[in-house]
């Protein structure tokens, strides 16, 4: 229940902040919370994949693109 509320919060904030680097980091937090939720539901394989992919690799991809382009966002 608490994880679900935090999930909504992090999803909202990561799309709300103007700084893209923080958005990418908060998106990583969102993925980690999602992974915890799935582990709680017993979907261990899915949670494992999300921990490796969502919280790890995709955050790195986002950050490398942000550093290669621009960090500001108009909305």
């Amino acid at each position: 229940m608490i994880i679900l509320i935090f999930l909504i919060l992090t999803a909202f904030i990561s799309l709300r902040v103007k700084d893209l680097l923080s958005a990418a980091m908060i998106f990583g937090v969102y993925s980690l919370l999602m992974c915890l939720l799935w582990a709680g539901m017993g979907a261990v394989d899915v949670a494992f994949t999300e921990a490796a992919v969502g919280a790890g690799v995709s955050a790195v991809f986002l950050i490398s693109t942000i550093l290669r382009t621009s960090r500001r966002s108009s909305d």
């Binding site: 394989d45 949670a47 494992f48 992919v53 991809f61 490398s64 550093l67 382009t69």
Partner: protein
């Protein structure tokens, strides 16, 4: 535009909430998805048919092997697409807008030493995840991502060029191809032995043991193929994105 978007989203949300009434209750054992014979068959018969305790791995690599093969092909295609979009050969082609120049820093001693200690452990763990996916959570996808992440860590800690000494660009694409080749090879081998495509049961002619062992060991081989492809494509995507297609200097 914003208002229109909000309106669309709210209408979709309203329809979904209307549909939510028909959803099964939370954790309902008799929900259609759980009471369907197929998933019950997977739960009760997987070990009897394949001798793999982890049902997810068994369904992934055996029952739905065809599906997983083309998922791997999708990942491979995505890697090729990224190289096709971003890769710049030679340095005389100047883009219209100046590229972002990142300030170069000296490699940090602490970060480097820690990574030197960590990376072998990460790679060992990745191999464990691939090989032990039958008995514990894990498998080719997870192990491949972790193995690729170890190379990404190496590139982050030192430099992209340093990491590419171990995994050069042309070799990494070969590796991705080899992964799919291994996967499809199991399918073709079972075709040649008179079975259906990816029908591991007939592989008893090659693999020692009975039918169940053939299933189990072919699944391991298939997972290794998946791990090859995923490792290679993950590092390839990272090196393309971080060097803006030049494959020279990372972030």
């Amino acid at each position: 535009m914003k208002f229109l978007g909000l309106l669309t989203v709210l209408i979709t949300g309203f329809l979904l909430i209307q549909a939510e009434r028909d959803f099964p209750d939370w954790g309902d054992v008799n929900s259609p998805a759980s009471s369907y014979k197929l998933s019950q068959h997977y739960i009760t018969q997987t070990f009897a048919e394949t001798s793999v305790p982890n049902m997810v791995t068994a369904v992934l690599a055996d029952y739905r092997g065809y599906d997983t093969m083309f998922e791997t092909v999708v990942i491979f295609t995505a890697g090729i697409a990224i190289i096709g979009i971003l890769r710049v050969f030679g340095s005389n082609i100047k883009p219209d807008h100046p590229e972002v120049v990142l300030t170069k820093k000296k490699p940090d001693l602490i970060v480097e030493t820690t990574c030197r200690l960590l990376i072998p452990i990460i790679q060992l763990f990745a191999l464990y995840v691939v090989a032990h996916g039958h008995h514990s959570p894990g498998g080719g996808f997870q192990g491949g991502v972790i193995f690729g992440a170890s190379f990404i860590l190496l590139a982050l800690a030192r430099d992209l060029q340093y990491a590419q000494q171990w995994v050069p660009e042309n070799r990494i694409l070969n590796l991705a191809g080899i992964g799919i080749f291994i996967y499809a090879g199991f399918g073709v081998a079972s075709l040649l032995l008179g079975g259906n495509f990816l029908d591991y049961g007939v592989l008893t002619a090659i693999i020692p043991g009975d039918v169940k062992d053939a299933h189990s060991h072919s699944m391991l081989g298939v997972e290794i193929g998946v791990a090859f492809t995923v490792t290679a494509i993950m590092f390839s995507i990272y090196s393309s994105l971080s060097s803006n297609g030049h494959m020279k200097e990372g972030i």
